[in-house]
Amino acid sequence: MAETVIKVKNLVKQYKELTALDNFDLEIKEGEVFGLLGPNGSGKTTTINCLLSLITYDNGEIQIFGKNMSGNRYDIKAKIGVVMQNVAVFQELTVYENINFFCGLYIKDKKLRKQYVEDAIKFTGLEDFKKFYPKKLSGGLLRRLNIACGIAHKPKLIILDEPTVAVDPQSRNKILEGIQELNRQGATVIYTSHYMEEVEQICTRIAIMDKGKCIALGTSEELKRKIKNTENVIIDIKKIYDEHIKGLKKLSHCYDIQYSGDKLTIKFSGGKHNLINVMNYIAENNISYDRIYSELPTLNDVFLEITGKELRDREG
């Protein structure tokens, strides 16, 4: 049985009238890549700030590595690497110096630190930019620097708060692969995001948050199994008549249909030949369409079903 790295019980955090965290519980085991998934304002950053004792909270208990966490538990802090939501680097120092400065707060030994800093630079692919000042870096490179500063000291626990916000796909993939690599090297990871694809891609276990509560917990498979939705058939279509929607709704296992942005989403719960049934109906009724395809439910569907709203606005 893996050891518990983080244990949070009944965490409550109020900002005046607003309850940012509402009796939030969390337990993370060693070796996990744990995803905190939730829309903007759901309390992800607040959770992390409480975990690190950066802010006070109104109720609850937080243990890290089996010890009660507080602001002056420097022994615990020494084993954690943090990558905050906002890029936090000195504009006046170069890439190398920034990493070296922050790594130096953890690693005193000069030779070891040098090695670690080089590792971090290689790891984040910043070799060509060592002497650059942050101002000169693109958004994606800056994010990578932000990550390098947080993980250079090879911590046992890594906390990343939306490290891929506003990052190009190339940098994003690099970052995600890197996180998995760190995990393989033995780090436990907490990863927050409102991008479900990322969380699905790298997280071994996921907590979905909404309004300061954990509304679902499990692996992405488990989470999807919990919901009614098993398959979505999507038709790209410019125009559809209400009678056809009604007709499609009568197909077996279909329980809901949505039409927005030239996309008709037909939701199924169970059933084996849903796509074929839909295609048959379309052929029988001579409906013209652009494209038709089937998708398995995503975490967005999980979120949608539990909260009745989208995890995030669909892009485009």
Binding site: L54, Y74, V82, A88, F102, L105
Partner: protein, 382 residues
């Protein structure tokens, strides 16, 4: 610790805004001062022998001879004569004055009274009137003595020579009383106070409720206060070098005559820079808000201090002294200015050392209060 210090050094040195405001801006300002006041300044900066015309209107020669003897004895502390006397009649004297061949015309009247006629007002004119006033005092005294105790006259006369000399020296040759030099002292004081901005920057970078970097510093296993102190030391060093460079520029490149002993000016600058940095340290710890808010607050506070100390409205300091003297003892700007003033005018004396002690005390208080505020490291939000 040393590594943190070195990085903090680099962070400050690489901050163009800070270096601009604490080094380039004052230097530019100083240069502008210099060229704006340059003429007046260079003309009056070095005390030289003053040309005067002396007119004898006495009937019996005694008062005239007495004055003549006294005037020829007068010299600056370095031995150069204060007065270069042309003996003439009143008609020609006025012509000389008109042609600016002499700075003033001194007339010895029959009753022993002495009058001074000058064309304009300036430092040499005031030196002359100082001499005349001094002579009047002694003249009265000598008259009294000669009536009561003629034997002591000789002795009194010798006291007079000494007296005038000492008095002139005291108020005019040590230190530079030229009002324009005050601008340059104020400039140095301003550079010292501007150190507060880099002190502030250091603190903001270490506070988690004020900057993103502060967040990162706060999740590290190094106590924030260590990082701050290393930064404060770095800020002090950088700013001190800025002030000294500024001084060097003013003295050697522009040739400003500060009057006071250079060592006293440097000591005051060292303490003044400490003072400046610690003001920034304290402001950095009061309340929240990021760097820009804090810069706003700091600028406001310092402008107010400068206002009270008369940097903006000339006689403000005197007003404050009259109605609420304690303010001049705790207002960093006022104390710093006074230290510069005291060492210039009175040299390294009681008033100067008193000011230095005050600066040190204010600095320590600011640092302690700042640290106490830093110690209350609980925040409801960041």
């Amino acid at each position: 610790m040393i590594r943190i210090f070195l990085y903090q050094l680099k962070i400050i040195l690489n901050n163009k805004t800070i270096i601009f405001w604490t080094l380039l801006f004052p230097v530019i300002l100083g240069t502008l001062f210099y060229f704006a006041f340059g003429n007046l300044y260079s003309e009056e900066s070095v005390l030289k022998t003053i040309d005067v015309a002396v007119v004898d209107e006495t009937e019996n020669a005694e008062p005239y001879q007495m004055f003549q003897a006294a005037a020829e004895e007068l010299e600056y502390s370095d031995g150069t004569a204060i007065l270069n006397i042309t003996y003439t009649d009143s008609y020609e004297a006025e012509a000389l004055l008109k042609d600016e061949a002499v700075t003033g015309v001194i007339t010895v009247k029959n009753n022993g009274d002495i009058t001074l006629l000058v064309k304009e007002s300036g430092i040499y004119e005031s030196v002359l009137s100082g001499i005349i006033a001094e002579y009047h005092k002694f003249n009265t005294m000598i008259n009294e003595i000669s009536v009561e105790n003629p034997q002591a006259l000789e002795k009194a006369l010798s006291i007079f020579y000494e007296g005038v000399d000492v008095n002139v020296t005291d108020s005019h040759t040590e230190g530079n009383k030229d009002p324009y030099v005050t601008y340059f002292y104020n400039l140095i004081a301003m550079m010292c106070l501007f150190s507060s901005f880099s002190g502030l920057g250091i603190v903001v970078n270490c506070q988690r409720n004020q900057s993103d970097v502060g967040l990162r510093v706060n999740v590290s296993p190094v106590k924030t206060v260590f990082i701050e102190l290393a930064g404060i030391a770095a800020a002090f060093l950088v700013q001190l070098v800025c002030v000294l460079l500024g001084l060097f520029y003013l003295i050697t490149i522009l040739g400003v005559n500060f009057g006071g002993e250079i060592i006293n000016i440097i000591i005051t600058s060292v303490l003044g820079t400490m003072l400046g940095v610690s003001i920034g340290y304290l402001i950095g710890h009061v309340g929240k808000g990021g760097l820009n808010t804090k810069i706003g607050i700091l600028t406001g506070v310092e402008l107010f201090c400068c206002f009270l100390s008369g940097l903006m409205v000339g006689n403000m300091k005197i007003l404050v002294q009259k109605h609420c003297p304690i303010v001049n003892k705790i207002n960093p700007s006022a104390v710093l200015e006074d230290a510069f003033y005291a060492q210039n005018i009175y040299g390294a004396g009681e008033r100067f050392y008193g000011d230095l002690i005050l600066i040190a005390v204010i600095t320590v208080v600011l640092l302690i209060v700042g640290s106490i505020m830093a110690g209350r490291n609980k925040y409801a939000s960041v």
